[in-house]
């Protein structure tokens, strides 16, 4: 193999490595961006679902009953 062929082969190899590296970086960056977008989209969706589920559940009083003394003004019992 002549010296020219060796240099040419090495140059082609280096060019190939650069191309693969560039592609890998681009794919990686695209993956990170897509993941972030998906995370934002589904994260927001999950928040919405949780809020809806909370809203659709049995309504909890903002404060529990307080202690009372003596007779009641009204009675809560079964009918």
């Amino acid at each position: 193999m002549s010296g020219y062929d060796v240099r040419d082969a090495a140059a082609r190899r280096d060019e190939g490595v650069r191309t693969v590296t560039k592609f890998t970086w681009r794919a990686g960056v695209a993956g990170v961006i897509c993941s972030a977008l998906l995370g934002l989209a589904f994260g927001h969706h999950a928040d919405t679902q949780t809020a809806q589920q909370r809203q659709q559940g049995i309504l909890v009083p903002s404060q529990p009953p307080g202690p009372g003394h003596g007779a009641g003004q009204v009675t809560s019992g079964a009918t």
């Binding site: 009083p61 404060q63 529990p64 202690p67 009372g68 009204v74 009675t75 079964a78 009918t79």
Partner: protein, 315 residues
């Protein structure tokens, strides 16, 4: 502390006792008129014992689609929501099961009629998922042979709506109790509304139990000891376990729950009776303050229900 003067009216409705409290004496007669109109409309819509009610017509439709009033659609939606929130423990398709146990007419007549024979062998109820409700067109279809009973939610729903209506129209504080399912609205007494929680809503204000105060939402009590009768040679009660179609096994004598509305409080108290021991963790996890009384009088509380300083109630 100053104590707010409260005006009171007591009357009969839905076969039970209603109590109306308002913080302005001058508003009482108008409040009563508003409540009467609302309650008459609810009775016309969903009484299981009136031959002219919408519910009776729907139960007799044999699978046909029926157009209902907006009020009935709201009442049915509330019942289906209760079923969904309790995974079907509070199921409105228990009408046939109740009728099979002899509860097929006004309860005073059931009691007066003496022991009933079992008309059918209990089995699982048809299930709330089989009820088709089209909200937009107000159309409902039940599978043939399915009987609806909205008793677990309609009375509580009516309490909520009467209270909201009266507070909205008259601007006063109001408490509406329909057979012990109570809702409050408007600016109530500074010290809160005093409620005696006990087994029987008809008991006096000093009956064995506990006095608590509430300032918002609703409070409801379900019990296996009050609405009872004899059928098939044994004592039965009116809270149906949808899984069996028979009365729920008695783990709790009485369950009282406070919630953001009366209908939600009653949904939870009824479900708790059916869930038995598992109700304690369910109520706690849901953040619902509740007081559960075992048949021997032992009291269990959840989610911030105030301490009961009264002695345990004798069974």
């Amino acid at each position: 502390m100053t104590t707010t003067t409260v005006a009171r009216d007591t009357f009969r409705v839905f076969g039970t006792t209603a109590v109306l409290l308002v913080t302005e004496a001058g508003a009482l007669s108008q409040a009563r008129a508003l409540a009467d109109a609302e309650l008459a409309a609810v009775d016309q819509a969903c009484s299981r014992f009136r031959p002219d009610s919408e519910l009776t017509a729907l139960n007799a439709a044999r699978g046909a689609t029926v157009t209902v009033s907006e009020l009935f659609a709201d009442l049915l939606a509330a019942a289906l929501r209760a079923a969904r929130l309790t995974d079907g423990d509070v199921d409105p398709t228990c009408g046939q099961a109740l009728a099979g146990l002899g509860y097929d007419r006004d309860f005073d007549q059931v009691r007066a009629g003496g022991p009933a024979s079992l008309a059918t062998v209990p089995g699982p109820v048809p299930g709330w998922r089989r009820v088709e409700l089209d909200d937009e067109y107000r159309q409902v279809r039940l599978p043939a042979g399915t009987g609806l009973d909205l008793g677990a939610t309609a009375k509580a729903w009516a309490s909520d709506h009467c209270a909201g209506l009266i507070a909205g129209h008259l601007g006063c504080g109001v408490l509406v109790s329909l057979g012990g399912d109570l809702a409050v609205a408007g600016p109530g007494p500074a010290e809160g509304w005093r409620v005696r929680v006990t087994d029987d809503h008809a008991a006096g204000p000093e009956a064995p139990g506990q006095t608590v105060t509430i300032t918002e939402g609703g409070l409801a009590t379900s019990s296996t000891t009050v609405r009872t009768w004899t059928a098939g040679g044994r004592q039965v009660h009116h809270i149906i376990d949808p899984a069996t179609g028979g009365p729920a096994r008695v783990c709790w004598r009485t369950v009282s729950v406070a919630a953001g509305s009366c209908v939600d409080a009653n949904t939870a108290s009824t479900a708790a009776i059916i869930r038995g021991e598992a109700a304690v963790s369910w109520l706690d996890e849901a953040g619902l303050p509740a007081r559960l009384v075992r048949p021997d009088g032992t009291v269990v509380t959840t989610a911030g229900w105030p301490a009961d300083n009264t002695p345990a109630v004798s069974p």
